[in-house]
Symmetry: C2
Subunit: 125 residues, 2 copies
């Protein structure tokens, strides 16, 4: 365990701004493109498309095109994508419990902007 943590950020892309929110939005079932745009307030169609495509590419999300007019496209978590719900729940629980502490620490850091310096004359001898 903890043998390698290199994938938390990439290629897991869990570090992306929208990926975690999209996973959450898809948790309770398939959603259409426009049904994702609404809860993800502020996301642009371009970015939503990009993110969904990369998730599809990684096998986390399944994209289904239903023929017809107007077009209808559904996105849903794959079996693999669903396995991410557990770890994500752990992370969300962490932030719910400890994010305020982190924010407090950050605020307290304002002012003493200078880290403790090294002792002077460190090249001597």
């Amino acid at each position: 365990m903890f043998t390698d943590c290199s994938h938390v950020a990439s290629p897991l892309r869990l570090g992306g701004k929208w990926t975690p929110k999209i996973i959450r939005c898809l948790e309770s079932g398939p959603r259409r493109f426009s049904e994702l745009e609404v809860p993800l307030r502020g996301i642009t169609p371009k970015v939503l498309t990009e993110t969904l495509r990369s998730m599809e590419r990684d096998g986390l999300v399944i994209r289904t095109v239903h023929g017809g007019i107007p077009p209808r496209v559904d996105y849903e978590l794959s079996t693999l994508g669903r396995t991410l719900l557990g770890p994500m729940a752990a992370c969300c629980a962490w932030s719910a419990a400890h994010l305020p502490d982190l924010l407090d620490a950050r605020e307290a850091y304002e002012g003493d902007l200078a880290p403790e310096p090294l002792p002077k004359g460190a090249a001597t001898r």
Copy 2:
């Protein structure tokens, strides 16, 4: 639960390239700057400093300067930082179990580079 996942990436900075690895390196106790540079192969001193400073700023890491020549600086996880070990273990366990699947999916995606297109003549009416 899952009420908000916006902090997985930021400000948690867990999405950073080195943060998870640093946490892991500090798991078993304090480490000096140079003791971090070795296991984190490829990191430059500039980036290591930046990352450690941001973690210190967020209260995840404690930086201790021991006076003397040559200088000695220790970094260790704070109590708050240690609370991250759980969620991180969940993420690492996920990648140990499922990262190969993700990589396979990514590889299989090569070739059928074109996502299923929408039906033609999609203009309403």
